[in-house]
């Protein structure tokens, strides 16, 4: 976030930990603390939900619903725990519930995900019209990025959540186990199976030269 995009909060808010911000809002109804917390998670949580759902408008709705839940339940947050896994836990459960309600729980097809995400067309156009010295390399990178996002979307929901939380969001295995209410062994096995599935798909595709590995 640039300086210009920072919410108009006191320096004490900018320096505070997530836990301090949440506590400040929960105990003193310090709205600036809540505002700072929302801004802090804007990019990472939105991107998590975008990767999870594969759909920008659903990610936006779920982002807002997550903070509505944080707002409602901040009194229940247990001191001594970390805020980040708690927020991601709320977001993940809301995403699972929304997918269940819409009958999308588990997987969707490659074709559907391509149709839903029409932003890629614009990005490819931008790449082609860009004066970048290596447009071919950029196109290849974009193709691989799209492939990964679609492959993640094909994973069962519970496996996808684990991969995203571990690899992209930097949560500890223990924190993910707590967030998803499963034993840590389940987190490890989901992670292992997800990677195996992703790599099998990678190998089946046209990327064998780029590091696909049976595990």
């Amino acid at each position: 976030m640039t300086e210009a995009e920072q919410p108009n909060t006191l320096p004490v808010h900018a320096a505070a930990s997530d836990e301090e911000l949440l506590l400040s809002f929960a105990t003193e109804r310090d709205e600036k603390a809540l505002e700072q917390l929302i801004h802090r998670y804007e990019r990472p949580l939105y991107n998590y939900l975008l990767r999870y759902t594969g759909n920008a408008s659903r990610a936006e709705e779920l982002f807002q619903a997550t903070f509505e839940r944080v707002f409602q339940r901040c009194q229940q947050f247990e001191p001594g725990r970390r805020v980040k896994p708690w927020i991601y836990s709320i977001a993940t459960h809301l995403a699972i519930d929304a997918a269940r309600r819409a009958g999308r729980y588990r997987t969707t097809s490659f074709d559907e995900s391509v149709e839903q995400d029409d932003s890629h067309a614009g990005k490819l156009f931008d790449l082609l019209s860009d004066n970048h010295p290596s447009p071919v390399a950029q196109l290849e990178a974009e193709e691989r990025r799209i492939w990964v996002r679609q492959a993640l979307k094909q994973l069962p929901d519970e496996m996808r959540a684990v991969v995203l939380l571990v690899y992209y969001e930097g949560l500890k295995l223990r924190e993910i186990a707590e967030a998803l209410h499963v034993p840590i062994g389940t987190v490890k096995s989901r992670l292992h199976r997800a990677l195996a599935q992703l790599n099998r798909a990678w190998k089946r595709g046209h990327h064998e030269e780029a590091g696909a590995t049976p595990i």
């Binding site: 939105y46 920008a56 990677l195």
Partner: protein, 75 residues
Amino acid sequence: MNTIDDLIGYLCGALDDDACRWLELQLELDAAWRDRLEVFSRALEPLEHDRLQEEPPACLAARTFAHLQAKRGDA
């Protein structure tokens, strides 16, 4: 209990300190673990292609905060 599957968590920085130290000791002692680490490391490579984060919709945080303020006003 720690197992060889913890190597994936290790590569992602997702292990607690104790598990991390235990695993680094195994890596020092056992070449098979080092080989496995290499395999898992390559298995993570495809994910690296989607590292970039996308820009959130304009004013998402500000709109979310305003929505919560409005809800609080209604309550």
